[in-house]
């Protein structure tokens, strides 16, 4: 039993390392003059995709062994759900890779998958027992389908990002290249969250607050924003700099705000560090590496992944969700925040597809839309799960 759990965590770790190495090989493909010509395979591309597939299989081992150990599909808490999204993103990448053979996609898709897996790994990893409403086969049918759809849709973001780095003018500062830089900064902030969480966790930092209602709230990072009116229990820990506003709702909201602030601090430090190395906007530094790549092909990948992902999302995020909700909660649709955000995602990609029908929306405009689409997906996974409480809240 516990044996299986350790197999499962080793497998996840293996997958993580393999994705990391595969990224380096995909990185090597851009130096290769032939990359733009798809008919010829570059050796580093072949190694990259092979490692990716092995990593993916390792993650499948993680998934199955944890499923057996826990007796239910490991998609029932934040750790399981988010790492699974990383896995479906890799799956979608492999799928699209074999259609378009575009190696540069791996250079961007794998780091984003790594970021997502690292993010998920910051949440409690123990296997949780299922509450009655989750005890249904529809749990895994629904969640697995939605995640696959989100993974495929995330590829459109990856392609959109490549497109923007490739095409946005970097000669002088413009609104567009600042926005692009902000997108890159936010990705770095995602990494910042994992880094800062790991640092404080390795220090075993803990500060306990007593709220006026007599509840205890423990912080695992020094409190910058504390709970309103709360007392620090051990006085040798850092006093909060300010109190979290009370309208910031949800369970343990002040602590979440605090984590967010720390992530931004860590993200800013990391980004500053990267800038010291690049000595240019990151976008401007990366742009010349991509010169060999055909923007049409990247645009096509971006659109195609929405075209493939949209029906899957409809099936998993709306139809399967409705069937399950009908059985478990007696209504197939209840305007729960999670459901509403699935609807928003669906509306958004429907708008994307409609806009693509007119010519002016190809290329750069749809690349921005793909970025917004991914922001909506991440919002659904992070903010809706952790902040806007609802039936599905994993917090």
């Amino acid at each position: 039993m516990s044996n299986l759990v350790s197999i499962s965590s080793t497998a996840l770790y293996t997958a993580f390392v393999l994705y990391l190495i595969a990224t380096l090989f995909f990185g090597a493909t851009i130096r290769d003059k032939r990359t733009a010509d798809m008919s010829k395979k570059s050796i580093s591309g072949v190694i990259g995709i092979t490692l990716t597939i092995i990593g993916f299989l390792a993650q499948v081992v993680y998934f199955i062994s944890r499923w057996i150990a826990g007796g239910h599909a490991p998609v029932s808490n934040m750790f399981e759900f988010v790492t699974f999204l990383g896995m479906t993103l890799v799956f979608a990448f492999i799928l699209i890779y074999f259609i378009y053979r575009l190696s540069v996609l791996g250079l961007f898709a794998l780091p984003i998958a790594l970021l997502i897996i690292a993010y998920g790994s910051m949440f409690p990893k123990e296997i949780s027992p299922l509450v009655p409403s989750l005890q249904s086969n529809w749990l895994f049918i629904h969640v697995i389908t939605v995640s696959i759809a989100q993974g495929i849709l995330a590829i459109s973001f990856v392609a959109g990002l490549i497109y923007l780095i490739l095409k946005v003018d970097q000669k002088k500062i413009t609104l567009k290249n600042i926005l692009l830089e902000i997108v890159i900064f936010l990705l770095v902030t995602g990494l910042g969250f994992s880094v800062i969480t790991t640092i404080f966790a390795s220090m075993d930092y803990e500060a306990i607050f007593q709220t006026p209602e007599g509840l205890e709230m423990d912080y695992h990072m020094p409190a910058i924003s504390g709970p309103k009116g709360a007392e620090l229990v051990d006085s040798d820990k850092m006093e909060p700099l300010f109190s979290a506003p009370t309208w910031f709702q949800g369970e343990a909201a002040p602590r979440k705000l605090n984590t967010l602030i720390w992530s931004f601090i860590a993200g800013t430090v990391l980004y500053g560090f990267i800038r010291l190395l690049t000595r240019k906007r990151v976008g401007a530094r990366v742009q010349p590496w991509l010169r060999k790549i055909s923007p049409q092909l990247v645009d096509e990948v971006m659109y195609r992944s929405v075209a493939i992902g949209f029906p899957v999302f409809t099936l998993g995020g709306l139809i399967f969700a409705a069937i399950w909700a009908q059985i478990a909660w007696d209504r197939f649709w209840g305007w729960d925040p999670k459901e509403v955000w699935a609807l928003i995602t669906w509306f958004f990609y429907a708008a994307f597809l409609h806009l693509r029908l007119s010519r002016g929306w190809h290329g750069e405009k749809s690349a921005w839309l793909a970025v917004i689409g991914f922001a909506i997906i991440m919002f659904n996974i992070i903010v809706v799960n952790l902040v806007l409480a609802g039936l599905h809240s994993y917090a």
Partner: protein, 557 residues
């Protein structure tokens, strides 16, 4: 032939408003601004240049309304407004999701209490019931109208244009396709081979005098229309659901051992709660040990064992044999019970009701509170007086199932024994006059201050109240059909693409042009495969070429 019709040089007669001749594709000079072809090298092929009503008439108010709704741009704007509005509804919980434990669940107070001034504004704007507000429903209805009109506007002309198309196309039409190429001196063998290969890739070949059209997956063009029909069915089903005839939603609380009418069934069906059980995950289960330690006990199941009975047809209610059992079963989450078109769901439970309480009598002065006699009161059917074997007589003069003191007056909030309190008159075997005392949970008041005997709570039992949702929903099949059609339509439109390749002789040259509605990469692969080993050149992607040129010019600048 009406004067409005347009005759093309190929002989085909097109309806007014046509942009590209339905048969040969030659641009109709005066209509080139409609699809923006006058500004571009490449033709806009989205609707095959067919004559759409919305692009042709714009005089009467009907025309203008029609044109408003048939614009995809306006449709997208409506979708985006609905999207933002839906998001606004998730900022604070909707009224139905106000948490149980909120101090005041009345929306008029809750939003301000919980979220301050923003909450108050949210409530005053009606956002606490956003999804059932009139304006949200109108917005969704407008999307419905828009997609119906939009589909009608395009379906008929598009269908006509695809049916009328001839293999032989005008040279201008071909040269203004995205994929276009000319090769000199192609042998007939090579030409035949390309056609054969395309056929092998499941293209349908039509030939007219050496002019060839290879076409594939035309059906995928109808995908959007199919999916929009699915959406319309779903919207209609949502309207049907507002009628009580097809949809019923009720809720009933049933105590253990109690039998109740199932609401919404005209007193025809009854539900009895035989037993209610709550189970928790085993804290010693090795798998979950850590999680349970961290987050506390986790329920594994709660369920009600029920008996459903109904009034026999033609019988008089109250007669002993007037009822018959419909079914006996258990209901738990993810396992509803269905009978006669009604579905019962286990929704929730309360464990805050007392079923009985036992009081002991002791002397006020006795520090050890030694029991002199006990009475047990069944809180469903409290009796007026109880006698103990030891000779005490306890009279229940007042019973408050859920006690509260309001404006100095004792009263009961509800009829459910959630916080019972009593006024007793106790007469000891050695007394002449009964003494009055008030007893509740945590309260024991002696009205005069010199009572000899006191009553104390010795023991009690609580019972569960099971919350059951009662549903009758005849609209489900419509939703299922609508969703299935929608999904079918999107798959039809997304996973296949309408590809066409034209192979024409042009003097000594062979022209090869191609079009697809999406997935150009796939189309190029098809062509690549077909021309392999022949002298025919790969057609040029004119869009890509143009963009490359622009980029190079940009770099030089």
């Amino acid at each position: 032939m009406s004067v409005d019709h347009i005759k093309c040089e190929c002989g085909h007669v097109n309806p007014e408003g046509t942009v590209l001749c339905e048969a040969c594709g030659k641009p109709v000079a005066k209509n080139q601004d409609i699809d923006g072809n006058n500004k571009k090298k490449l033709l806009n092929m989205r609707y095959e240049g067919s004559a759409r009503r919305s692009q042709t008439y714009n005089r009467s108010i009907v025309d203008k309304t029609w044109n408003f709704f048939s614009s995809v741009r306006n449709g997208v704007i409506l979708i985006l407004i609905a999207l933002v509005a839906s998001g606004v509804g998730t900022i604070f919980p909707q009224a139905m999701y106000i948490p149980e434990e909120a101090p005041n669940r009345d929306p008029a107070f809750y939003y301000e209490d919980a979220f301050g001034i923003l909450g108050k504004i949210y409530y005053q704007l009606g956002f606490h019931e956003l999804y059932s507000s009139w304006w949200y429903m109108i917005l969704i209805a407008l999307i419905g109208v828009s997609l119906v009109i939009c589909s009608l506007d395009r379906f008929v002309p598009l269908h006509r244009a695809l049916k009328m198309q001839k293999p032989k196309r005008h040279y201008t039409f071909l040269s203004r396709q995205r994929l276009f190429g000319e090769t000199e001196n192609v042998s007939d063998e090579d030409r035949q081979q390309v056609i054969k290969k395309l056929k092998k890739s499941r293209y349908k070949i039509t030939e007219d005098n050496g002019y060839v059209l290879a076409e594939k997956n035309r059906f995928s063009r109808w995908g959007p229309y199919v999916n929009h029909i699915g959406l319309i069915i779903i919207l209609l089903a949502a309207i049907l659901r507002m009628t009580p005839l097809l949809f019923m939603d009720e809720y009933v609380w049933v105590r253990e051992g109690e039998e109740k009418v199932i609401p919404g069934t005209d007193n025809e069906y009854f539900i009895e709660n035989k037993k209610f059980t709550v189970d928790f995950h085993d804290e010693n289960d090795e798998r979950f040990k850590e999680a349970i330690e961290n987050q506390g006990d986790v329920e594994s199941n709660f369920q009600t064992d029920v008996v459903i009975s109904k009034v026999k047809e033609g019988s008089v209610v109250g007669q002993s044999d007037s009822m018959e059992t419909v079914t006996e079963d258990s209901i738990w989450m993810n396992h509803p019970l269905k009978f006669d078109g009604i579905t019962l769901y286990q929704s929730g439970y309360q464990e805050n009701e007392f079923s009985d309480m036992t009081f002991k009598i002791y002397e006020t002065d006795d520090e050890d509170q030694e029991s002199l006699g006990e009475v047990t009161i069944d809180l469903d059917t409290p009796e007026d007086t109880y006698k103990t074997d030891s000779g005490f007589e306890v009279e229940v003069t007042k019973y408050y199932p859920e006690y509260e003191l309001k404006n100095g007056e004792p009263r009961s909030i509800s009829q459910y024994p959630r916080d019972p309190a009593f006024v007793f008159e106790v007469l000891g075997p050695d007394q002449e006059e009964a003494e009055m005392s008030f007893v509740g949970i945590g309260k024991n008041i002696d009205a005069t201050g010199d009572n000899k005997y006191k009553l104390g709570i010795q023991d009690f039992n609580v019972r569960y109240v099971s919350g059951i949702t009662v549903r009758k929903d005849y609209t489900l099949p419509f939703f299922i059909i609508g969703a299935a059609i929608f999904l079918f339509g999107v798959i039809q439109g997304m996973y296949w693409q309408h590809r066409r390749v034209w192979i024409h002789p042009e003097g000594d040259n062979l022209v090869l042009a191609a079009h697809t509605n999406k997935n150009w990469f796939g189309l190029k692969k098809d062509i690549d495969k077909a021309i392999e080993g022949t002298s025919i050149k790969m057609p040029i992607d004119q869009e890509e070429a143009e963009e490359k040129k622009a980029m190079e010019e940009d770099e030089e600048a």
